[in-house]
Symmetry: C2
Subunit: 484 residues, 2 copies
């Protein structure tokens, strides 16, 4: 393949084209045969597996248990909660035939599992001793997409969905916040994202929820991405499905439920948070290969450096570093360097005959930030495991700092409409707003920006609405931005 076919469109030229170039050329995904469907290839799936393992550990550590519920849901279930069906009806896939016959009642493929899990919770909960019921499911869900986009909006995606039932509203809200904290920790500690946790405005709530919370990171084109949401359902689903427990006085009380989900969408968020014009940049915590070693030299020299590379890889793997040796004989070192840069590997080691003679390897970082580009650096092979563990830790925090700085540089506190328009054209605006749906709709129509969240950390503040001048709602500034 010629060099120019492999290079990606610059972000500044066309961010959407850059994104597509990266996901296909790095072999993260491929298009499936059905409109809007996505094949996750091994390199992309490994990122998801690493993310999944981390989320799963945190979910179990907070007392939740995994379970599995059926893919197919009777159509009538979806209709029991009025807002829920209104929100999801346009996105449903419907099964009408099975085993060669037409079904008596059509079945829908789960777009989310509140209804079927609600039905089972009603069966399993009878007394306060059964509460809280803390469940989680890893599953595929399907929602019809008119304008699909790999990882971000596909007709099928993979996720976890937490579903819990509690005796009191306070317990359920505490759970909603616990899940939000969990997502925030995953996003910051593992994905190195600069996410802002906050509450959604009523217009942006989950269909059927009383309150919805979100974590929102900023992508490198200044847009926001909803990266994980948690919902307090109040008693809406409990009433629709009869999820009750015997209260102290012996009467049946409705449970308070929650749900929360994080999906393969995070992989898209990762790409758009850290990537650059060379391609992907992966945080070490989620990189399939954290270090790639490229042995250099032909013939006998090549055999020698390859065997040294394999030996070094074993030493690095023993230190817990995911290491790969690129020994493809038909490709030049230069091609390999570009290839692994495009595929976002944090650290590359070059191992030529001279390096080997000197007992060193040439280390190249995928990215430097906040300090002059250090170029390549010779490191002693003997000390490589310890040095690289430290390098990877530093790389991970460097990416977080870079994401925080980028977000902060593109977030503006605004008090006038022209300032607002300018801010959301390239990033986020922190603004006061009246909370009226009509005013929110006007803002969206003129700028495509929407309220991303009411940040949990925001200071109390009141004043005139950025758009219409009426008194502000929410008691603090909202984040407005364009979004995915």
């Amino acid at each position: 393949m010629a060099r120019d076919e492999r290079s990606v469109t610059p972000q500044s030229e066309d961010f959407a084209a850059w994104y597509n170039d990266v996901v296909f050329r790095a072999e993260l995904v491929d298009r499936g045969p059905v409109r809007g469907s996505m094949v996750i290839r091994p390199y992309g799936y490994r990122i998801w597996e690493l993310l999944q393992a981390d989320i799963d550990t945190r979910i179990k550590a907070t007392g939740h248990q995994n379970a599995y519920f059926p893919l197919l849901i009777p159509q009538s279930y979806m209709q029991r909660e009025a807002e829920h069906v209104e929100g999801f009806a346009p996105e449903l896939f419907t099964v009408t035939h099975a085993g060669g016959k037409e079904l008596e009642e059509p079945l829908v493929i789960r777009p989310t599992s509140e209804t079927i899990i609600g039905e089972m919770m009603a069966k399993w909960i009878s007394s306060h001793r059964d509460l809280p019921l803390l469940l989680n499911q890893w599953a595929n869900v399907l929602r019809w997409e008119m304008r699909p986009r790999m990882f971000l909006r596909t007709s099928e995606f993979l996720w976890q969905e937490g579903h819990t039932a509690h005796a009191t509203a306070a317990d359920a809200i505490a759970e909603t916040m616990l899940a939000l904290d969990l997502y925030q920790d995953v996003a910051v500690e593992i994905a190195a994202m600069a996410t802002v946790p906050g509450e959604k405005t009523p217009g942006e709530r989950f269909a059927g929820a009383e309150r919805t919370f979100t974590i929102e990171p900023m992508m490198r084109d200044g847009r926001a991405l909803q990266a994980g949401t948690t919902h307090f359902m109040g008693t809406n689903f409990a009433a629709a499905f009869g999820i009750t427990y015997a209260g102290e006085s012996g009467t049946d009380e409705l449970c308070h439920t929650t749900s929360w989900g994080m999906s393969t969408r995070m992989v898209g968020g990762l790409i758009m948070t850290h990537g650059d014009d060379k391609g992907l940049v992966l945080p070490p915590a989620l990189a399939p290969y954290q270090v790639v070693i490229v042995p250099i030299g032909r013939g006998e020299q090549g055999d020698m450096t390859t065997s040294a590379a394999v030996q070094l890889a074993v030493a690095l793997q023993s230190a817990g570093i995911r290491t790969h040796v690129d020994d493809r004989p038909q490709l030049s070192p230069g091609f390999k360097f570009n290839d692994w840069e495009m595929r976002g590997v944090p650290i590359r080691l070059e191992l030529g005959p001279r390096d080997l003679a000197a007992g060193t390897a040439l280390m190249a970082r995928r990215l430097s930030y906040g300090q002059p580009d250090p170029g390549k650096e010779a490191i002693p092979i003997e000390a490589a495991p310890g040095l690289l563990v430290a390098e990877l830790t530093e790389f991970q925090s460097m990416l977080t700092r870079r994401a925080v700085d980028f977000r902060d540089d593109h977030t503006v506190t605004v008090d006038s409409w022209p300032e607002f328009v300018a801010a959301v054209a390239i990033g986020w605006a922190l603004a006061l707003q009246c909370g009226e749906p009509a005013c929110e709709a006007e803002i969206k129509a003129e700028t495509t920006a929407t309220p991303r969240c009411i940040p949990l950390a925001g200071e109390p503040e009141q004043g005139p609405c950025i758009r219409c001048g009426k008194p502000s709602a929410y008691g603090k500034r909202l984040i407005f931005g364009r979004s995915y």
Copy 2:
């Protein structure tokens, strides 16, 4: 709940009723709202997760990579391989509507993924350098079931499906055998089953395969269960989907492909291999809790033993033992003992005030085999972690020995029809058979027994067919048995 409601039907009285009692009362599963669907509850799902983790490690260690392919497959794909469509057509779920509109082409929910993965392999493979392509997917699949049975036959089940492509038939057959070995190791080492690896006769092959291999364990009612199968497809799917590579002479050559799957069915096999009239018996490698500690005593004494139980649990967990303390205040110790026996926990520790004063705990094994029942045994708390690690190892191998002995005791080498009929009524028959489909059908009609496999380890042998007297085929004896 009264005691009699909790006890299970004896196996000897009604094995199917025993099975149902166990899966529901041990809270492994619940019935879903759609016919044939299954909800896997946390206790059952944890068994699956432990099995899954073990299989996944082995799959990765043998060089396979995980990926994910779409759930929905264009109906036309299923029709490209003639035998494949004939085999699966009666079991398909069909999606006709999405996003509120009728689809141009109906989509089927994957019953298995050879077709969609074949389509992608064709796209990804161009030269011999792309071979072998070694993929695996963890996924849900759906097959319409007229007579559903929890874990064994449900409309939806969870599994892994390996799919690989190779340059030569020899490479593909080696892969088919490697996967069979992998399954055999999982079944024997982890599930403590006495599986027999062998080849399927033509009538029992996977739809579209040239050769199918299987591992077959014997259940405690003498029936066989197909616990994992591996398939050599020859070039059938490669021809149907255009999976080719540029050969040395530059011409396009067809690849040789394989597929292999192991599913949640294994959990059913586990239950029917080890369970008894008290309920489940779980091999330690797959037990959600390997040890349950029941603190005994009321009031202050109860507080003391509970706190000692929690301390002991921490010590056991540090030694890698999955431990649970049953501190439910409203239940009696006797109830708890029965409950955890029914739920199959390998080892129970009782901790009363006198035990505590003596620095010991009373250990009870779920099952003894091949030696007199040791009853309860006092063990020193200080030494418990080391002792219990050894006990669990012994418990695991005891279960394997018990399964092997049971299978061997119920397997008979037969050379006459009356012997055959008697053998398959309670177990397996090792018999010579002519290989004629009509004769096989007659055997099935009269005894419900089918050829389970041609055991890999069988000695060469020829003679008259057990049923019709014609010369035998296959060059060795087959295992015949009734099956799930």
